[in-house]
Structure formats: C-alpha cells, structure tokens
Point group: C2
Chain length 310, copies 2
C-alpha cells in the first residue's frame, strides 16, 4: 500500500455528519451550521523542519509560512479566514526567543487578514521543529468554489508568476485572500485551487474533479524570474518552463471562468490589482489531462505532472 | 525564560478579532459568528510517541486517545463536538496498516459522539508518531461554563475516580460530553474543567481564575483502584491519595455548583448516570489555593499541586 492508496482507504471510511457540505479532498472542508448567509471552512496544515524550512530559516518567516499556507487554502475557496490554533513541536532545550520570533511572523500575517490566534500548544519533538495550524474561516453561502466545476470552453487563469519558489517566495508569498474574494464577488468562477504542488499537479486536481481536460499555451505560462535564473545555473538544471509547471509552493491561484468573460476579467483585474499579474494560460477542453500547445503542435504532460521536454 | 514565562509572553500579544469571546487560557477558545442560539468551541491537542503513548500501545487506542483528549476539553465547556481535522506525523517506512488502525480507534470514538472527520494530513516525522487534532464544536449560547465562575460557598464535585490513569484508563477513558451537557442543562454550574493535569492542578486553574480557594475533605477524594494498587507496589510508590490529587490524564470533570444544589444534584445524577460516580469533595472558600481537611485539621497543598504527606 503506498501513501495514495492509504489516503484513499482512509478517506473512504471517515465519519461524517449533517454539518458536512464538503469533506476531505478539496482545499478546505466546508461545514454548514445553519447560518443564513455563511458556511464554514476548516483546514489544517503542518510545516516540518527539513521539509518546509531549515534550521537557518529566519524564525519570523517560518511562522509566516506556517499560517500563510493555510490562508492560501482558504483563498482557494474564496473564503475569509477568522481564527487559528497553533501547535508547535520543539526540540528539548529550544531557545524561547526563537519561538517568540516564530510567533512574531505568524502574528503579523494574522493581523494583515484579521485572523485571531485563539490558542494552541507547545509540545516536545526531539528532532526538530514542526508547526501545525488549524484554521477556521467563513464563506458567503452560495459562493463556494470547488475543484469540480470547470466546464469545456472555460478560460484558465493563474495569478502571479510560477516556479522557483524555493529561492525565497515560499517563505514570503502573499496569500491571495483578497483577490479570491473579489473574483467570487464579481465573476462566475467555475473552479479554483491554490498552487501548492505545482501548476500541473493542482490543475490536474481540478480536471479530475471536473471530468475535463486542459490545453495550455506554452508561451503563455508566466515563468518567474527565479525559475529562469535557476535554470541557467547548471546544465543539469530544470528548464524554466518545467519549473513553472511542476515546482511546488507557488501559492498562487489557478481558476477557470467562462471563456466569454476572459477579456472583461483581465481588464477589471488590472484596475483592481495593478501589482498582481493575472494570465490566461489556456482553456478547458473535453477529455482528460493536460496538453501543451506551441507553434509545433500539442504535447501531453505525463500523469505525475512532469513534462519531458527535449 | 521558562516554558510558563514563554507562554505568558506569547499569549499576551496574540491577535484577536470581533469573533473572539474567550481566547487562550480556558479549555477551549469560544467564538461568536452571530448564530442566535450557538457559540463555537475551537480546540487543538497533540499526542506524541514517548510522552502520551509508546510504540507498544495498540494503534486503535492511540487514535482513540488523540481524539478523546480534545473531546474532554469540549466536555469541560459543556459543548457538543462537531468536526475534527487530524494531522499524523509518521516516521519513514511506517506500516500503513498501523495508520489504518489508528484511524479505526479514532473513527469509532468519533461516531460515538457524531463527530465528522473532515480532513487532515499525514506528514513525515523522523523519530516517531505524533497526532495533532483540531476540533470544532458548538455551545448553547448563554450556557458556556468557564473556569472563572466559582463562588464562595459552592460545592466542588468530581466525576469518576482519580489517579493511576497510566495503568490503562489514559487510553480508554470516556469523555464526559453527555454528562457535562446534562449538567449545564439542569444545574447552575459555576465553573468546570476537565482533569488532564491532575485534580490539584486543574482545580487550581479554576481557583486562580475565580479568585477563590478550596477546602477538600481528604476522605472524600475518590481514589481509583489503579492508584491504590500502584501505591502498594513498592515502598517508594506515590501514596494513593497523592496519586488521586496529582496524577494526570484522568479526563474526568471537576466543577462547582451552589452549595444548596449539592444534594439535589447527587440524587438526580444517580438516576441519570447510574454507572458514573459523582463525588462532592469539598467547598469553595475565600482566599486562595487548596487546603485538605481531615480529622486532625487542615493542611495546605503546595503551589505545584503536590502535597507532602508524612
């Protein structure tokens, strides 16, 4: 049994109850407590030393990233984050100042989005630091954007630039909370996800859930400067476009809107968020999986989200 | 800076917002989202291998305990648990069957209390297993029972028997969810907490928050059979009464009601919960801290919750 088989088996037998609108499998769980205008979003996410940060990472950025990742999931549902609990696992003989700085970074980001930190705990973890965050948010009833709503003919958009996040952006990205809510308020967003596993992987989640395929325009993918710089470092480096398609932790949004709304969206977005790039990268088509189009034709991305460029 | 100073410093500067009714420092955070009849409870708790269980603990009991601890905190507020997120940290090359069994134990307890498991994640933790649970619950508006409401003249009650939990009860205790809600519905409960750190420690939280003291009747403390057995094992063992006062993880309830209600409470409790012991162990008095009364007079418990018996 591999990890995916385990998760599939686990999630099949989980208890549900009458509050559950959307259980495991989307960016957040959606719960209904009977408020006339609101649903609730519930999400947890952990960062672990050696995986998501190192001992050399400034502690403020560790705290910021831990909360930011959860905020990005709330953004992917066009929700509003409200309250968080913070669990920190620490090696013995940790430096209390280090923990205070983790909280400094976390609290600063929380204040930016009016998120209350309402509790948590510190516990012992012999080998390194981990931070687990549980985040509760709300969603305007009727406005939830799941992964399964993409339709043939939709235009596919991404915010920001992609790839090379490990060079720094993974520690100080801006969760797209405000942008996502604006999108939900002003456009018919059919499907949305945040980019945590890389565009190819996260877009594929939308495609699978929506039973459709995607055709991306190779030259339209917004490749970040960091991905380009990285690709030039050695002859063995990942090509920049591959990095933009497969690097994790971009924490941008990918979403689909009816094709007829694409131009209006680009125009109004530019006025609303002049500093945040928005790019139409392709369209939803019948079928499955992702194809890349360039002047020579189309090319299929493999199932793991990796493309094999010549 | 020790751990308590660190936590004091951390909790002083945490961001709040208009939803926060009760922030860190009680058994759960209490949030108000504008539902006319309900408030929300939000709690996280972690169990760690080597601290809360060992590699030899049956996995079903690890899962059960992880959720049970959080349920006990919801009980301490007389709340109703609703939905949980589960984060499991695992060593590399873990056995998937072991994880499925953890979930079996957790899911079974969740079903008992109609708690939905709505998501979570598995992550890598090189040295051992940890499980962090985030639990969302509700509370009838106007029925919240905090730690700070004890008044002079209140009778102090505990459910169950205390001490020696490590012999087994810490793995299969029954969270007192039903009992706590019944108490809140039928009596004026002034203050309540669950017993996670031992009666002396948890009662002291109530006393500190309420600015009062407690006088306990030594012979009334319900000492568990496990604590008695343990005390007889060696001449160095903890006396059974000390174990009942200071052993952690009883997960029973300690609460205070107006003294005039004490007899009626005992009578109706016996009819309602014939299998769950309820004991009046003393009364709230002016002053601070805990004193123990026996036929020879009164004796003060020290500030750490440990009594030094001759």
């Amino acid at each position: 049994m591999n990890e995916f088989e385990l998760i599939a088996k686990l999630t099949k037998s989980l208890p549900a109850n009458k509050t559950v609108v959307t259980g495991p499998g989307d960016d957040c769980a959606v719960l209904d407590f009977g408020l006339p205008d609101k649903l609730f979003l519930f999400k947890t996410d952990a960062v672990v030393e050696g995986v998501h940060f190192t001992r050399e990472t400034p502690p403020e950025k560790i705290g910021r990233k831990a909360l930011g990742r959860c905020l990005s999931d709330i953004a992917a549902m066009a929700g509003t984050p409200t309250a968080a609990l913070v669990t920190i696992g620490l090696p013995k003989n940790f430096d209390p100042e280090f923990v205070l700085k983790i909280y400094d970074g976390l609290n600063t980001l929380a204040r930016t989005f009016d998120v209350a930190i309402v509790g948590g705990e510190t516990t012992t973890n012999p080998v390194g630091i981990f931070i687990s965050i549980a985040l509760l948010g709300t969603l305007a009833r009727g406005k939830q954007i799941l992964r399964g709503g993409a339709r043939v003919g939709d235009a596919i958009f991404v915010t920001g630039e992609l790839g090379g996040s490990i060079a720094g952006k993974h520690l100080d990205f801006e969760p797209r909370i405000v942008e996502a809510r604006w999108l939900a308020d002003h456009f018919s967003i059919h499907a949305m996800a945040d980019l945590s596993d890389g565009l190819a992987g996260d877009l594929r989640h939308i495609l699978t859930a929506s039973h459709v395929g995607a055709e991306l325009l190779k030259t339209a993918i917004p490749v970040s400067r960091a991905a380009k710089l990285e690709s030039r470092k050695t002859s063995l480096a990942k090509p920049a476009l591959v990095a933009a398609l497969t690097d994790g932790e971009d924490f941008e949004l990918v979403f689909t809107v009816p094709g007829k709304d694409a131009v209006k969206l680009l125009d109004t977005w530019k006025q609303q968020f002049p500093k945040v790039k928005l790019t139409c990268i392709g369209k939803i088509i019948a079928g499955e999986g992702i194809t890349l189009r360039d002047k020579n034709g189309v090319q299929k991305l493999d199932a793991r989200g990796y493309a094999h460029f010549g």
